[in-house]
């Protein structure tokens, strides 16, 4: 799916500056770089703000800095290192992982609807997590390690299993993207109906807990969840950047990619695995946060005025969106709502605005 160009561009091609390092050539594009820097600035501001004022505990910026370097009293240390820091880090890492996963999936399939939600990852993870919530909740038998790690582990297992099933079923001498998407959507619908059905059978309190998880929530953020997300991002972000050239070639179509020297099937499988793992880890840490994986890449490519979502900017945008939404979620109501409510409420109008604005530009 590509947008047909509005009108032919003026003929004279712009000379692009480039950086050459041995065999590597990097194009110098000013606008995407500026956008990335701006989004990064927003991310930093949101992160600092999260550390400064996430809850009612009175801590000035001087106190926070003092506590960060190890000079705070026990209350301040607890608030900063047990409550605020893990939550902010989880939001930032999970948002980045979802944004990156969405960007890879959308580029690979050339379909703006492709995201962990449509490829079966999210709903597979949901089946695992909801099974733990509902089975564990109604028997009242879970405690200790299982209640702390049961939901994330269940989500991880469910997500990985269902994605493997989707890949296996979609494979027929290669992963053709339409087939992959259709199998993914079928798996998602299968799993989502299973979840909804299970939720209609339980007590309403458990259904409410399940709904909170399904919306994506930072309530349970702790260091146990930061660790895997940080590790996954640390390994998979460089890998995906290394594969970015192949990804860009694949968006031109399989034949062109082959002509450019890309091993098409291998590259596609590798990129899909990267995206799926990122999504699995993110969803297991905080639940399927609504809309981030779909919106971050689309907003990023519109801000940068590129044809395909830029990977790093998508990750940064996902991160900033999730952090900002989590602060609104924590601060706006007396009953704190899950972050997923606000990623959609923040992200959707902005994406709509970008769609409308682009039309205006065409109009001129």
């Amino acid at each position: 799916m590509t947008d047909s160009p509005a009108r032919p561009r003026p003929a004279a091609p712009k000379r692009r500056r480039s950086l050459r390092l041995g065999p590597l050539t990097l194009l110098w594009r000013t606008r995407p770089l500026l956008v990335a820097l701006c989004v990064f600035a927003v991310l930093v501001v949101a992160f600092v703000r999260a550390l400064l004022s996430f809850d009612d505990y009175p801590m000035g910026s001087a106190d926070v800095v003092r506590t960060l370097v190890g000079g705070g009293d026990s209350g301040e240390t607890f608030v900063l290192f047990t409550l605020r820091m893990p939550r902010a880090l989880t939001a930032a890492l999970v948002g980045a992982a979802l944004g990156l996963a969405g960007a890879i999936m959308q580029s690979l399939t050339r379909n703006p609807l492709a995201s962990p939600d449509t490829l079966g990852v999210t709903w597979g993870a949901s089946v695992g997590a909801i099974a733990v919530i509902i089975l564990g909740g109604s028997t009242g038998q879970v405690s200790g390690l299982v209640s702390r790690l049961g939901v994330p582990v269940g989500a991880l297992v469910g997500g990985v299993l269902v994605s493997m099933v989707v890949f296996g079923l979609a494979w027929s001498s290669g992963l053709e993207s339409t087939r992959l998407l259709l199998v993914g959507v079928a798996a998602s619908l299968f799993c989502s109906n299973l979840v909804y059905w299970a939720m209609s059978w339980t007590q309403v309190q458990e259904a409410s807990r399940a709904q909170t998880w399904l919306t994506g929530s930072m309530h349970a953020a702790d260091w146990d969840r930061v660790g895997p997300a940080a590790l996954a991002l640390a390994v998979l972000l460089p890998l995906s950047l290394a594969a970015a050239h192949a990804l860009r070639a694949l968006t031109l179509g399989d034949d062109s990619a082959r002509g450019l020297g890309v091993r098409v099937e291998r590259a596609r499988l590798l990129l899909l695995l990267i995206a799926t793992l990122l999504a699995c880890v993110a969803v297991s840490a905080a639940g399927p946060i609504t809309f981030v994986a779909l919106a971050a890449p689309q907003i990023a490519l519109r801000l940068c005025k590129l044809a395909q979502p830029p990977l790093v900017t998508s990750a940064l945008l996902g991160s900033a969106l999730t952090l900002a939404a989590d602060q609104i979620a924590a601060g706006l109501f007396t009953v704190s709502l899950p972050v997923g409510v606000f990623t959609a409420v923040l992200g959707a109008p902005y994406l709509m605005y970008l769609i409308v604005r682009r039309h205006r530009e065409h109009h001129l």
Partner: protein, 350 residues
């Protein structure tokens, strides 16, 4: 592209093409037979099984007995509703996939289902509406409103809505409404209590009023969809070619979106968001009949109706004492069938 579709495109006009048309019409008759079988099963299977001959007899000459009451007052309305919902979702799925040129688009994509769901949740939360026929008006209003907003957002510029802007505006609207719904049902337990049952999608316990409430919307949507079919054939060539051929793209898209909103809104209002049929039926119909929308639309209508009725019957048979909702059955049985279909043939690209 299926063999039949490809070969009939290559053939010149004349007696040979007439043969193709005859074969397609015969297929249509076959589907009508299938739908009748599904309807017969639907009025005879249930907690009290009534043999099909007796069911037919009491249907046309009521004798006031128990079987007669069950068939005429419970199973007939339910069967009609199921058939209409399936028909609407099948046709709306075809329109949606063609207008967005996206194989994974389903009728709920323009925010139609979530608009209906959001309106239902809001009506429970603010007005305390509790009856199914009370939700219907809210659901239809919500569905129409959200799809109008999506269409307006997607068609801001001189070129009108493109497939990409339609998809994205729809996805954004869906996410926004999902967020609002989640917020409300988490703040208000009573809304969650209603919503968690409503969203599964079921034909059970719908009073006959619901059928009459949604029927005008379904009819209007159906007429628009049939009128839209030739236009969709030309739009399938791409916006530029369609413009060059003198097609008014904006008008065709607007007609299509209105038809989708009416059909899906009415179906969702009556039975809740039944997910799978709108995605699967268009692919099934295209696999059988090829790329001509004038044929895909009626095929998808009959297939959708038959699929929903069969799923409803399966849900009644396999659940033992209670029943499994039709939405769940469709996903559990439909997903494997759909995957098998995808694997077995080359896909028709949109």
């Amino acid at each position: 592209m299926t063999e039949a579709g490809a070969s009939s495109l290559r053939r010149p006009r004349g007696p040979v093409s007439l043969l193709g048309r005859r074969r397609r019409a015969a297929g249509l008759l076959l589907l009508i037979a299938l739908l009748s079988a599904a309807a017969t099963l639907s009025i005879s299977v249930g907690a009290r099984a009534i043999p099909p001959p007796e069911a037919w007899r009491v249907l046309f000459s009521p004798d006031g007995g128990e079987a007669s009451v069950i068939v005429r007052e419970l199973r007939l309305p339910r069967t009609l509703l199921g058939a209409l919902v399936g028909l609407a979702l099948g046709v709306a799925g075809v329109l949606m996939q063609s207008h967005t040129r996206n194989p994974i688009a389903d009728p709920s994509l323009l925010g139609v289902s979530q608009g209906a769901a959001c309106a239902v949740v809001v009506s429970v939360f603010t007005l305390g509406v509790t009856t199914l026929s009370g939700y219907v008006w809210f659901a239809i209003a919500g569905a129409l409103l959200s799809s109008i907003v999506v269409f307006a957002l997607a068609s801001g510029g001189s070129r009108g809505p493109t497939p990409v802007t339609l998809v994205l505006a729809g996805a954004a609207m869906t996410a926004l409404l999902t967020g609002i719904i989640s917020g409300i049902v988490l703040l208000d337990e009573r809304s969650l209590e209603v919503f968690r049952f409503w969203r599964i999608g079921s034909l059970a316990g719908r009073p006959t009023d619901v059928l009459w409430q949604v029927l005008p919307f379904l009819l209007a949507g159906g007429v628009l969809a049939v009128a839209n079919a030739p236009g969709m054939n030309i739009l399938a060539l791409g916006d530029d070619v369609a413009t060059a051929l003198g097609q008014r793209i904006r008008r065709v898209r607007a007609t299509g979106v209105l038809a989708i909103a009416l059909l899906t809104g009415a179906a969702v209002a009556a039975a809740g968001p039944i997910g799978f049929v709108g995605l699967m039926t268009p692919h099934l119909a295209r696999a059988i009949i090829g790329p001509d929308h004038r044929w895909i639309v009626p095929y998808a209508a009959l297939l959708g109706a038959a699929i929903v009725l069969f799923a409803d019957v399966v849900g009644r048979v396999f659940a033992g004492s209670g029943e499994v909702e039709v939405g769940v059955v469709l996903a559990m049985v439909g997903a494997p069938v759909f995957v098998a279909l995808i694997r077995s043939r080359r896909l028709v690209s949109l």
